[in-house]
């Protein structure tokens, strides 16, 4: 009997390439931010020096400290509001006989997938001083009982719109918690409320702690909401302070922006690492859990309708009010006191969009970056995940941490740093090439460098920034799918003689096909929602709805913002509809 010999193993080139590209994409922009922050002027200026001038300048600016303090208050407020409400919501939805759980569940995800910029705008047009509901409230009561522009309102709105983030983690923890521990408490005489406070929530404490750090971290990232709602009364957070710096000194003050960015990353980076640590210890805790059994929903009794009313109130405030505001605003000519809705209905804003090529291009780009760009991003994420799959070595650990790094860089900063990459790297390479006088260098300098410079104003630049910003998120989607592939399936293929590459091609990838499709849809949703990453990369050719909303809002074109927001919501709704139709798991 002959045995068939197998080709010898070679160096793992594909893996090396994936690792190198990932590290370049992750670390070059970050290093550039740090480098720029230690210069006394923008990097393209000839008379720059290395020093701490930039930091000295912002530390002397009272606005910086105000923004920093606000950011801290906002983040803390977010955690204080979102964690208890999210935990309670998860208990009600997962464990009790709350009416309407079936149709409420998908609604809970809406605040996660609607752009905060759109949300903020929705609150302005529905509850701002001349918003729809404010005007109606004034007609009824004679005064407006709220001020949406106060910092307290901003914290409350941000807190309430972040409840779903906590809900997702708390509910998946509750689902994996056996119901017998809760039944034991009920038999001992505990009411549903006591069960929740004494058993369920304490037992999912690790998940709640993780979610708490997450929303605290997200509090530091909040940009669109404060940009829209904080402007009238001048409330700043670090991200909006950085955005305003662009205009503050007239000239591009890149060194100051970089210094602010470094300060922000210094806060977010430890939080991201803490999340990673908490997630690991949360998984350890899972080993101590009760036994899952078929269970009956816990009867809330007379509290049923109270709980339902609270939940309905939350849904109205965080979803119905802002979204109906946007829908109404996009179909009226103008709005104010004494205006009758029926008189001002119009489709003019949508006609205006049709007539503006840049806006139409923006809509097309948004769809393209979601569908095509999302697909490409998933392919890249899969490549990185496969480079880490079943290999416990230094390179895997390096990638493991590397993919987390962009998580700590808010989208606004990431967009800015990629702008710098595309400005700086070609000119630096050019200077390097000019030093040598070979023909090749001259040819490269004449042909490749201009092409590299061109990249900045193509949608590729935007796609790269989007993909890097959402790297950690995308990686989690893919690795969840990979975790479900039993190691013995791959070992069986190795045993019959498949090489590593063949195992990946013939076994692993086919098995995670559906996971990848689901991830594609999720990345589509996230890319449709994204707005801050594109702000600094906005140029003719790279328009996307999210970035245009920011610039149009700054220009005061409320009508177009309303119509574009409506289109953005529609795109997200289509994506969500497809996800629900095909039963894609919207979280893990």
């Amino acid at each position: 009997m002959t045995t068939f010999s197998l080709p010898r193993a070679r160096l793992n080139w594909p893996r090396g390439l994936v690792v190198a590209l990932t590290c370049l994409a992750v670390f070059v922009p970050l290093l550039l931010i740090f480098y720029q922050s230690f210069l006394s002027a923008p990097f393209f200026m000839p008379n720059k020096e290395v020093g701490l001038d930039a930091f000295r300048f912002i530390f002397e600016d009272a606005d910086f400290w105000m923004a920093f303090k606000n950011g801290l208050v906002l983040a803390a407020g977010l955690a204080v509001i979102a964690v208890p409400l999210g935990g309670m919501l998860a208990f009600l939805m997962i464990r009790t006989d709350l009416p309407g759980r079936g149709w409420i569940a998908p609604l809970l995800l809406v605040p996660i997938f609607v752009s905060p910029m759109v949300m903020g705008f929705g609150y302005v047009v529905s509850m701002g001083p001349v918003g729809f509901y404010s005007v109606w409230a004034k007609q009824l009561l004679g005064f407006i009982p709220w001020n949406i522009y106060s910092f307290t309102s901003i914290v409350v709105i941000a807190g309430l719109t972040h409840v779903p983030h906590v809900y997702l983690y708390a509910s998946s923890a509750l689902k994996s918690l056996g119901s017998d521990v809760e039944e034991a408490a009920r038999v001992a005489g505990a009411s549903p409320l006591q069960v929740m406070l004494n058993v369920s929530l304490p037992m999912i404490m690790p998940a709640l702690a993780y979610a708490g750090v997450l929303v605290f971290f997200l509090g530091f990232e909040v940009f669109g909401l404060v940009l829209v709602l904080g402007d009238p009364e001048g409330h700043l957070v670090l991200a909006t302070y950085l955005y305003k710096l662009t205009n503050k000194l007239g000239t591009p003050s890149y060194h100051l922006m970089a210094a602010v960015a470094v300060c922000l990353v210094m806060v977010t980076m430890p939080l991201v690492m803490m999340q990673r640590w908490l997630l690991k210890s949360a998984n350890k805790y899972v080993s101590i859990k009760g036994k899952g059994a078929r269970q009956k929903a816990m009867p809330l009794g007379r509290w049923k309708w109270v709980a339902f009313a609270v939940l309905a109130g939350w849904l109205v405030f965080t979803i119905v009010l802002p979204l109906t505001g946007i829908v109404l605003r996009s179909f009226v000519q103008y709005w104010g006191e004494g205006v009758k809705l029926a008189d001002v209905l119009t489709l003019q804003h949508f006609r205006d969009i049709l007539e503006q090529p840049s806006l139409m291009r923006g809509i097309l780009n948004t769809v393209l970056i979601g569908v095509v760009g999302g697909g490409l991003a998933v392919v890249c994420y899969t490549g990185i995940a496969l480079a880490m799959h079943r290999k416990q070595d230094g390179i895997t650990r390096l990638l493991d941490y590397s993919v987390l790094v962009p998580r700590a860089v808010p989208g606004l900063l990431a967009g800015l740093s990629f702008l710098w990459v595309f400005l700086f790297v070609p000119s630096w390479l050019d200077g390097f090439l000019k030093l040598s006088d070979s023909g090749l260098a001259a040819w490269l300098s004449a042909h490749v460098i201009p092409a590299l410079r061109e990249v900045r104003s193509t949608i590729f630049a935007l796609w790269l920034a989007y993909s890097v910003v959402w790297l950690a998120y995308g990686m989690r989607l893919i690795s969840t799918a990979l975790l479900q592939v039993g190691p013995e399936l791959e070992e069986a293929a190795r045993a019959v003689g498949a090489s590593r590459g063949q195992v990946t091609r013939d076994v692993t990838v086919p098995l995670i096909k559906y996971g990848m499709l689901g991830a594609w849809l999720m990345v589509f949703l996230i890319f449709e929602r994204e707005y801050s990453t594109g702000v600094y990369l906005l140029s003719p050719g790279t328009e996307v709805i999210g970035a245009m909303l920011v610039s149009l809002w700054a220009g005061g074109s409320t009508d177009l913002v309303a119509a574009l927001s409506f289109i953005n919501i529609t795109l997200v709704a289509i994506g969500l509809g497809i996800a629900l139709r095909f039963g894609v798991k919207l979280h893990n």
């Binding site: 039944e183 034991a184 009920r186 005489g189 006591q194 304490p202 859990k289 036994k291 009956k296 009794g301």
Partner: protein
């Protein structure tokens, strides 16, 4: 059979329960009635899927029956017709879970004290009462530990202490011994029986192990496919089963391949492989009579004896305290116990007339 409600700690009448509703409804309990008197221990015995755990959970209020009534003492806790359903937390029962379901974030003391705290008892009183119960269960020194620091047997006792501490009228035990390993299970069985007798508990216990049921309980309810097959004292269930299912479930048996020749009252004459055997008819005679004998009732003899069939020895298995011997010829296969290893050969297997049951 009508029972006086006041005599019973627990009364279940004609209970029906489905999993799912409408067309997909899967009936689990199909009209179960039972009662539990003060100081009595009743075991719910049955194969998996017979509905025994579901019945226990329905009593605890963790499952919603479709019809029937449940009374605890003279309190009505469920009435399907009147749509009365008292929530689990209001029923004041003790329940010991199969998985123990100890709260991992509370110490042993806090686990046990929780039920008292919910009953608004004072701090000092709680400390005294919990200390008392832990002492009785031999856990006195473990109050400050967390559940994961305890052995399986200790965890089980904490679960029992937690269910006992507020003196519920009835304590429900869901397969209390099944999570323990074999050696520990025997000790725990003795401990549990001793505890129940010492404290005079009224208990309803679910188990799938007939030996455990017989050892601990005063009365056994054998469930089969959502209905009560037979109930009675362990001894009567074992020695005088009324149905083939009960007989087969309660012990190790031989089915004797035989045909009924004649029947005169209880006395049945059987024919097996040409040999004539005398047996005792039990229960209602079925269309296809089955002859059954407990393995331990078969007597092995080297010489020809009365009421016996001759079979060659196939093999003997050593069980420690005895040998289990297998005799086979054609389709006929019988098992019997022997105190010593038998030499190969043919033996007469004697089956006493009153022990050879014909259903």
């Amino acid at each position: 059979m009508k029972h006086d409600l006041n005599m019973n700690e627990l009364t279940v009448t004609d209970l029906h329960l489905d999993y799912g509703t409408g067309a997909s409804a899967n009936p689990i309990l199909k009209g179960v009635s039972m009662h539990l008197q003060r100081g009595e221990v009743v075991a719910l015995l049955g194969p998996s899927g017979s509905g025994k755990t579901t019945l226990l959970r329905a009593v605890a209020g963790l499952e919603s029956p479709k019809a029937g009534t449940i009374h605890i003492g003279d309190r009505q806790v469920f009435d399907g017709a009147a749509k009365v359903e008292m929530p689990a937390e209001a029923r004041n029962l003790g329940l010991v879970f199969q998985s123990y379901a100890l709260w991992p974030h509370k110490t042993v003391f806090d686990n046990v004290a929780y039920g008292l705290k919910l009953r608004k008892m004072g701090k000092g009183e709680i400390a005294a009462k919990v200390g008392d119960v832990l002492q009785q269960l031999g856990l006195g020194h473990l109050g400050e530990r967390f559940p994961h620091q305890l052995s399986g047997g200790q965890q089980q006792r904490v679960a029992i202490a937690r269910a006992l501490v507020y003196n519920p009228p009835v304590i429900l035990l869901d397969e209390p011994l099944s999570n323990l390993d074999a050696k520990l299970r025997e000790e725990a069985r003795a401990f549990l029986r001793e505890l129940i007798v010492r404290l005079g508990l009224s208990a309803l216990m679910v188990t799938h192990d007939q030996a455990e049921a017989m050892a601990i309980s005063d009365r056994i309810l054998l469930l089969n496919n959502g209905k009560i097959e037979q109930q009675g004292s362990p001894q009567s269930m074992y020695e005088t089963p009324e149905t083939l299912f009960t007989a087969e479930f309660m012990g190790s048996n031989n089915r004797v391949p035989a045909t009924v020749v004649s029947r005169a009252g209880d006395a049945v004459t059987l024919s097996s492989d040409g040999a004539t055997l005398q047996g005792t008819g039990r229960g209602v005679a079925g269309a296809e009579p089955v002859a059954l004998i407990r393995v331990e009732e078969v007597r092995i003899s080297a010489e020809q004896v009365d009421n016996a069939i001759q079979l060659p020895l196939l093999t003997c298995m050593y069980l420690g305290d005895r040998w289990e011997c297998l005799f086979t010829q054609g389709d006929t296969s019988l098992r019997a116990y022997s105190t010593y290893k038998l030499a190969p050969g043919s033996y007469w297997l004697q089956m006493p007339r009153e022990k050879l049951w014909v259903f």
